[in-house]
Amino acid sequence: MNIKVLYFGVIADITGKQEDSFSEFASVKNLLNFLENRFPDLKRSKYQISVNQEIKKEEFIFNNNDEVALLPPFSGG
């Protein structure tokens, strides 16, 4: 399962990059477990997950070529 992961706002500061590609994760939960281990500051951050630009829960199972994004609280306007 190939997925593209996008990081925005303060989350991109924490990961030090704006995007990643992975093939080893089946669900949002698997991906987040990995990322929160690799970047412990993520555990203290508030964020939502979108898959193909729609907000999803942790249980969501990826499809091939999904575009996942970690979205910190919005602050537009």
């Binding site: 925005f8 706002g9 303060v10 630009q53 609280p73 919005f74 537009g76 306007g77």
Partner: protein, 145 residues
């Protein structure tokens, strides 16, 4: 349906706003336009003054969310007939405008209420982030109040 552009690079200038106002002359059945402009404030954070905001956006999702907001407003307010929204990306200096919302309809009351609700929905739902940058180039990620 034609894909609408909601993002503009840099500040929203008066000539852009004027263009949207002039466009409405074609529709003579409209009776009211409510306009909201969001301006970048020179907030003092700690002891530093905000010099500019750098906006970043998840562009593809912005389009979808803006479209959803337009549908919500058009379904709820039957007198509202046109919605125009522009949000800045990139650098906008203190004093410049970064958000433009224009709601056009038959009468004043619904356009006013719908305009206010549209701005609230944009703040809540649209994936845009502001980085408040100080003169010394240090920064702080902004929070919406």
């Amino acid at each position: 349906m034609e894909k609408k552009e909601y993002l503009i690079h840099g500040p929203i200038k008066s000539n852009t706003v004027a263009k949207y106002i002039d466009l409405q002359e074609k529709d003579q059945s409209l009776g009211a336009h409510s306009i909201f402009l969001g301006q970048v404030r020179n907030d003092i954070i700690g002891e530093k003054e905000v010099f500019k905001i750098e906006y970043s956006a998840y562009e593809e999702m912005v389009g979808k969310e803006m479209q959803n907001i337009e549908n919500i407003i058009l379904n709820k307010y039957k007198d509202v007939r046109k919605i125009h929204i522009l949000h800045s990306t990139g650098d906008v200096k203190a004093g410049e405008n970064s958000l433009f919302v224009m709601i056009s309809g038959g009468h004043r009351i619904e356009t006013r209420t719908a305009c206010s609700e549209t701005v609230d929905l944009i703040k809540e739902k649209v994936p845009v982030w502001k980085k408040e940058v100080f003169k010394d180039e240090s920064y702080k990620w902004g929070k919406n109040s």
